[in-house]
Symmetry: C2
Subunit: 112 residues, 2 copies
């Protein structure tokens, strides 16, 4: 963190198969919002690429990195990802490619 | 756009050479804020990666894609990028690699 802490951002970059994209959107549109109650959570946005096939972005804004890390170890995290994790597990158990893959990158806000 | 327009997001993914990273941050920290006056502009964040060498993200939020496009064709756009463009031109004129490269990707907000 720099001397002035403007905030912390985590972005989950999510690739979906064409068949899964609609389901991915549906999962987020019907999310229970457990994350919203976490300490240090500010807000989040789910972004769909204008170019089909590019990654979806789930951007969450936090007061500090510690707040974000606490979320990733929380019940809310497991609960919030339950349906997506199950979809991936189901494909794996059936010997299929996962319908989505994801990776987190983390950032410091340097200016607004 | 989907039936419900929650907003439009443009992300400029910017790679800097290690030598240029500090200058990049300085340019944004001292930005004149011309973009803030544009119709449909909501807010922006400049994100520095926690892992050195990954891309910086300049995220701008807009009411509509049209508002974003109007900005890219505006005086404010040229003015806002003047110093960065000059740095790139200077390197090019000297036969050097550009100190930064950038590319825009655009998104629709599907949920918050």
């Amino acid at each position: 963190m720099s001397e002035l802490n403007l905030g912390f951002v985590a972005i989950n970059y999510i690739s979906c198969t064409p068949e899964y994209q609609g389901r991915f959107e549906e999962l987020f549109k019907s999310r229970a919002g457990a994350i919203d109650t976490l300490p240090g959570f500010r807000h989040m946005h789910v972004l769909k690429p204008q170019v089909p096939g590019e990654e979806n972005l789930v951007i969450s804004y936090w007061d500090t990195e510690e707040d974000f890390k606490a979320w990733t170890k929380s019940e809310a995290f497991i609960k919030g990802h339950k349906r997506g994790f199950e979809d991936v597990k189901k494909a794996k158990d059936a010997g299929q490619e996962p319908p989505m893959t994801s990776s987190f990158k983390t950032y410091e806000i340097i200016t607004n």
